[in-house]
């Protein structure tokens, strides 16, 4: 828009083909994601449904379910909404059809990649960031195409004012870019495996800064933008208070980014960071409810329409679920509530209220509104859409209530003590038995929701069949560029691209663990980039018509403020992690209190990561007496110092494993090697009624020892104190230690045909190592109430 001279009226056609494709992708991938979720739910009730098949096993498909719902269902739905509404709000076709296509197809390729790699056990094991490095690169390509296309469209728009929905989209695009890149910084070790550059507490902080803000800026802000556009349209009246929507926006941008540590309450994370997270989480409640009320009050005087219009039904319920989730979230971030609810199924209920109620219903409402218009026809069946609404609502409520009851039951049973201080329910399977019914109810609720989704697919399909694809048109006033449109070269070498590349470099420097100077330089560079972009854009705005001047500078100022808010909030949250002293104390024996893993243990750990044991097991004992009684001394921040990535976990479908190899005061492993051997190949053989899947293939799958020295080397590069000699003798050490495990198995009258280089031997060595550190807290009678 820099060199606009002439003014003309022109008829433009919107690119609605891309919108249709994203809708289709969301609906279709969404069904797969939901079905995988249903299977996962069933597996917790019927372990047989794991089929002893690696790629069908719960711990591998649960990440597939979460990724599919977040990135495929919501992602594609969000893109559909953003492309459709932005073109109309900006009165311009998307700037580049090519970029739209690149974005569309590369995104589907990412999803396809996820659907293949996650069941194969190719994973970083960081929740909602499981995709390995090569897919991460593709995500970046896709997102950059989206971002460039969007901002370019913003630049050539034909509407001076930016409606609040656009602000939400801007915040989404910028923030997700920063979050995703920082959290996924990793050192590739092989073609399909990388080690994240962060470890332990630092990694945990980064991950949950990402995890929390992915909920904020992927599942919330873009959908709020969509709400602010489609709800007024469907209700045919402007939003209740535009002023309130502005406040809503800024409050979310300023507060959300700080609330991440509420995922880590009572962990080994520093206290002040936990308190900060709790404080900001509580503050979030106000703007969220402001937004909800703003949405609902938009319907003032139009409530009769809700009765007849399924679109409004879905929106009203969706916004209400938003209100519910944003009340429950801050509630759960109160330390004492978190103490009860964390690691339980309550959290699963919480996220499904949000995902099914807010995201899923907003998606359905938008699709029912959009598809008839994209095909120039009417919705095939209002009755079917209504039925979808009712069965979906009932399904969600059943799901959520079952998980509340189940979660609170778990939390209470975990902490129930006899008068003598011993646990009332020391056996984990007793607790599983108590929630079995709730698991069934959850599955039924989820099943009803899926049924509703299927009904929607049928309804939309019929609608599409009765119409024909039409692209929206509008007559707009265009400010003609003086010398042709932006060329591809200008796109590639333009300031935004260069700034993006520089920004990525700065993020990398900022995140480079262990080097404070580099980190500070990174932060400075990042701030300079923001400032420079501001100046450049402001300068560009000078060459325009008077009124354009004002117009342009406003969204730019907004964009900059958003970036500043997000980057600054992020830096402050991550800085302690970055400058954190990683030094592990030296024990009385003269050795490091926490030794790096041996080559065998490291390979075992990689098996643990790859199989996704973290989806059911935590490795983080909280400082409560009842956890001490069940698992041993609270976890110390140093114990995960060498863990790339951390395995603290977030859900305890099974017990915590942090001290499984050095149990309570005994200092001895809780189980011997044979127990683990039996348990891993067939859990029910040693723990009747367990719902843990079996992993019999670990017995026959071999560790690829060609990669082992390289893995140690990568760890060394990341700051784990391996010596060159250790790397040199890695294979010999591996063999020796593996033979030791086999000898023990034979002693215990176990199998004598287990191969020394099987994955199972490595995994057993890793499990027996957990908790075997020489930290002071380990022996001190820690864990007082």
């Amino acid at each position: 828009m820099t060199d606009t001279v002439a003014l003309e009226k022109r008829r433009i056609t919107y690119d609605d083909g891309t919108v249709r494709a994203f809708v289709f992708a969301s609906v279709a991938w969404g069904l797969i994601g939901l079905l995988v979720g249903l299977l996962a739910a069933l597996q917790l009730s019927f372990w047989q449904l794991n089929f002893d098949t690696p790629w069908l096993t719960f711990s591998r498909i649960r990440p597939l379910h979460t990724n599919a719902v977040i990135f495929a269902l919501v992602g594609n739905m969000m893109f559909a909404g953003v492309y459709h509404s932005s073109q109309r709000l900006l009165k311009s076709r998307m700037a580049s059809d090519l970029l739209s296509k690149i974005h569309l197809w590369s995104w589907q390729l990412v999803i396809l990649g996820a659907a293949i790699t996650l069941p194969l056990g190719i994973t970083q094991s960081k929740e909602y960031a499981e995709l390995e490095w090569f897919l991460d690169l593709l995500v970046v390509v896709s997102w950059v195409a989206f971002a460039v296309n969007f901002f370019w469209t913003l630049k050539i728009r034909n509407e001076r004012n930016l409606y609040v929905a656009i602000w939400f989209y801007i915040a989404t695009i910028l923030t997700i870019a920063v979050l995703y890149i920082v959290n996924n910084l990793a050192l590739p070790v092989t073609g399909t495996k990388s080690y994240g550059i962060f470890a332990g507490a630092q990694d945990a902080l980064t991950q949950w800064w990402y995890g929390h803000n992915a909920v904020a800026f992927f599942l919330t802000t873009p959908i709020l933008g969509i709400m602010y556009y489609y709800l007024p349209k469907a209700a045919d009246r402007p939003v209740y208070s535009y002023r309130l929507s502005i406040i809503h926006f800024w409050a979310l941008v300023f507060i959300y980014i700080w609330a991440g540590p509420h995922h880590l309450l009572y962990t080994a994370l520093p206290d002040w960071a936990q308190s900060l997270g709790m404080l900001f989480s509580l503050m979030l409640w106000a703007p969220s409810w402001g937004g909800m009320l703003n949405g609902l009050l938009t319907l003032r005087g139009a409530w009769h329409k809700v009765r007849t219009d399924p679109v409004l039904k879905f929106f009203v319920a969706g916004v209400t679920f938003y209100g519910m989730s944003t009340f429950e979230g801050p509630l759960l971030s109160i330390k004492s509530v978190s103490a009860l609810g964390h690691y339980t199924d309550w959290i699963i209920g919480h996220v499904h209220g949000g995902a099914l109620g807010w995201n899923g219903f907003m998606a359905a409402g938008m699709f029912y509104w959009l598809v008839p218009r994209l095909f120039g026809t009417k919705l095939h069946s209002t009755g079917a859409a209504d039925f979808h609404f009712w069965i979906g609502t009932f399904g969600i409520l059943m799901y959520v209530v079952a998980m509340w009851v189940g979660g609170v039951t778990q939390g209470l049973m975990w902490r129930e003590l006899n008068p003598d201080g011993s646990l009332v329910y020391p056996q984990w399977v007793e607790i599983i038995a108590q929630v079995k019914l709730m698991y069934m109810a959850r599955t039924i609720g989820g099943g009803m929701y899926v049924l509703g989704w299927v009904l929607m697919i049928w309804n939309l399909w019929k609608t599409v069949a009765s119409g024909k694809a039409v692209d929206g048109e509008a007559e707009v006033t265009v400010y003609k560029p003086a010398a042709g449109g932006p060329s591809t070269a200008r796109l590639v070498f333009g300031a935004p691209t260069i700034m993006t590349v520089l920004g990525l470099g700065a993020c990398y420097m900022m995140a480079d663990s262990g080097n404070v100077v580099l980190a500070i330089v990174g932060v400075v560079v990042l701030l300079v980039i923001v400032a420079a972009s501001g100046f450049m854009l402001a300068a560009a705005a000078k060459n325009r018509f008077q009124w354009h001047d004002v117009t342009e500078s406003r969204p730019l100022a907004f964009t900059l403020l958003v970036v500043l808010a997000v980057v600054a909030g992020g830096v402050v949250e991550l800085l302690p992690g970055i400058v954190m002293n990683r030094e592990v104390p030296v024990a009385a024996s003269g050795k490091l209190a926490v030794m790096p893993y041996t080559p065998l243990q490291l390979e075992g750990r990689d098996v643990y990561v790859s199989e996704g044991c973290y989806v059911c097991h935590s490795q983080m004992i909280r400082p409560f007496y009842e956890e001490y009684a069940r698992y041993g001394a609270p976890s110390d921040i140093h114990e995960s110092a060498w863990d790339h990535p951390f395995q603290w976990g977030s859900k305890r479908t099974g017990p915590d494993l942090a001290r499984i190899g050095s149990y309570l005061e005994t200092g001895q492993p809780k189980y011997n090697e044979l127990w683990h051997y039996k348990h891993m190949t067939d859990p029910r053989s040693v723990s009747a009624d367990s719902n843990m899947p079996g992993y019999p293939w670990l017995e026959t799958t071999k560790v690829d020892l060609d990669d082992t020295p390289g893995k140690l080397q990568a760890m060394q590069a990341l700051g784990v104190p391996y010596t060159d000699e250790q790397i040199g003798s890695a294979l010999d050490d591996y063999r020796k230690e593996a033979d030791g495990v086999l000898a023990k198995l034979r002693e215990q009258a176990g199998p004598d045909d287990l191969a020394w280089d099987s994955e199972l031997v490595a995994l057993i060595a890793y499990l027996q190592r957990l908790g075997n550190n020489e930290l002071v807290t380990r022996t001190a009678a820690a864990g007082g109430k």
């Binding site: 001076r160 004012n161 509008a474 403020l561 600054a568 909030g569 400058v579 921040i637």
Partner: protein, 69 residues
């Protein structure tokens, strides 16, 4: 136990400083939203989603009138 990790690190004044800066900026925006911008402004912007029904809609009301002749 963890406090010692952070002791004497000047960088850690940053959270506090930034926090205060944030509150100031946020309050500024709230004030701006309520005071500086006239309500009429908001009214026209809030109509945007309703004014784009894909049929010869022009960006501004004045121009729409102009195009009718």
């Amino acid at each position: 136990m963890f406090k010692s990790l952070f002791e004497g690190n000047a960088l850690l004044d940053l959270p506090v400083v930034t926090l205060l800066g944030f509150f100031a900026a946020f309050c500024g925006i709230v004030a701006w939203a309520f005071l500086r911008r006239r309500a009429a402004d908001f009214d026209s912007v809030s109509q945007l989603p309703l004014a784009d029904d894909d049929v010869a809609i022009l960006p501004r009301s004045t121009e729409r009138r102009a195009s009718q002749d």
